[in-house]
Symmetry: C2
Subunit: 196 residues, 2 copies
DNA sequence: GTCTATACGAAGATAGAC
DNA sequence: GTCTATCTTCGTATAGAC
């Protein structure tokens, strides 16, 4: 089934994106790391690297949104976020602080020809959609626990921003110290906000 | 004076770093954007691109730390941070959301041969030092206003992470909405922490 | 110190064989 | 569908002329 090859390429691209960034994620390294056939690239992604990375960002956005939403619904905002941070901690540690967030990579390192088409097919636009979706999941969870809409949205934005920033800082430091610090303060903040 | 050429190259490299990332910051584009002589590259930076980027990261770390420390001392933690966020908002808006943070770029997009030398001359290590310095400035300001050492450090980490993450998100969104949200919640949080 | 020319490698895209 | 080969472009690094 070629669908497996395609999916492996997308997942591999997302992983490389998170580790090395956009430019260092070459089509060659993607097929090398995934063990997928070279000649399939043109077939599955006629749009070339741009298309592959678009799918990779979509995939990454989903693979964060799904567990995030599950945790929020099963454990509530405060406990769910603790678990979500723990999920990131595991990614950092198990990769030796090599892996990070593919969406952040795309946001920070725009591709050369990002100014071509018209609608939201740009990588930057896709990164924006991912961030907004994660914010929305968090703010919905907070609203469910009685936080006013405006504040819930702001806290969602702060939480996403803090985690993205912290993951990058932890990679630079090769340590989870910053994540521990941020986790505790985020918990304090959300507990105060949801207290009735 | 050749020192001017050298400084222009460093500042230009830092700017390009913040806009396009590490790999897209080529030595060619640096001399193009700064209008500096090509042949001087080898003289001022015998270590090649690696050395130029190291100096650029050091320069960027400094150009954030100095105004941050000044604002903290002149206006205190809460008001100073408001002004600091305003400084970032101006950078985003005046660049059409093209510019960002050079240090974050280096943290997210490690260079290919980052595993060579022994000590802290790596770009990743320099990014780490920059983050830690900014954290320290913030936590020192908070301690000056009566916040306990441990909490001051955690709040410093959260603040740096939140601003770094938010700047990246604003670039993706081409909007300062997230920065406005985060600014307000950060202010609320710091006011509560410093209240006696 | 400044600049040009060149060497070398790597990446993306494409065409065509199996 | 899969793979190879090639074209073109771009980046770094180096050597040597002014």
């Amino acid at each position: 089934m070629s669908s497996t090859t395609r999916d492996k390429m997308i997942a591999g691209a997302a992983d490389l994106l998170s580790r090395r960034g956009v430019h260092a994620t070459s089509l060659r390294t993607v097929v090398q790391h995934t063990g997928t056939p070279r000649g399939s690239l043109g077939h599955h992604f006629p749009g070339g690297k741009q298309q592959l990375l678009e799918e990779a960002v979509r995939h990454a956005a989903e693979s964060v949104a799904v567990p995030l939403e599950t945790l929020m619904k099963e454990r509530g905002a405060v406990e769910g976020l603790q678990a979500f941070v723990g999920w990131w901690r595991r990614i950092l540690e198990s990769s030796g602080f090599e892996a990070g967030c593919p969406v952040l990579a795309v946001a920070v390192e725009p591709m050369a020809d990002d100014e071509d088409a018209a609608s939201g097919e740009h990588l930057r636009g896709l990164a924006h959609e991912a961030f907004e979706r994660w914010e929305a999941i968090l703010s919905a969870a907070l609203r469910r626990e009685g936080v006013a809409a405006g504040r819930a949205q702001r806290l969602g934005a702060l939480t996403v921003a803090a985690i993205e920033g912290t993951v990058a800082m932890c990679r630079a430091a090769r340590s989870t110290r910053a994540l521990d610090d941020v986790q505790l303060e985020l918990k304090t903040m959300l507990m105060a906000a949801t207290a009735r």
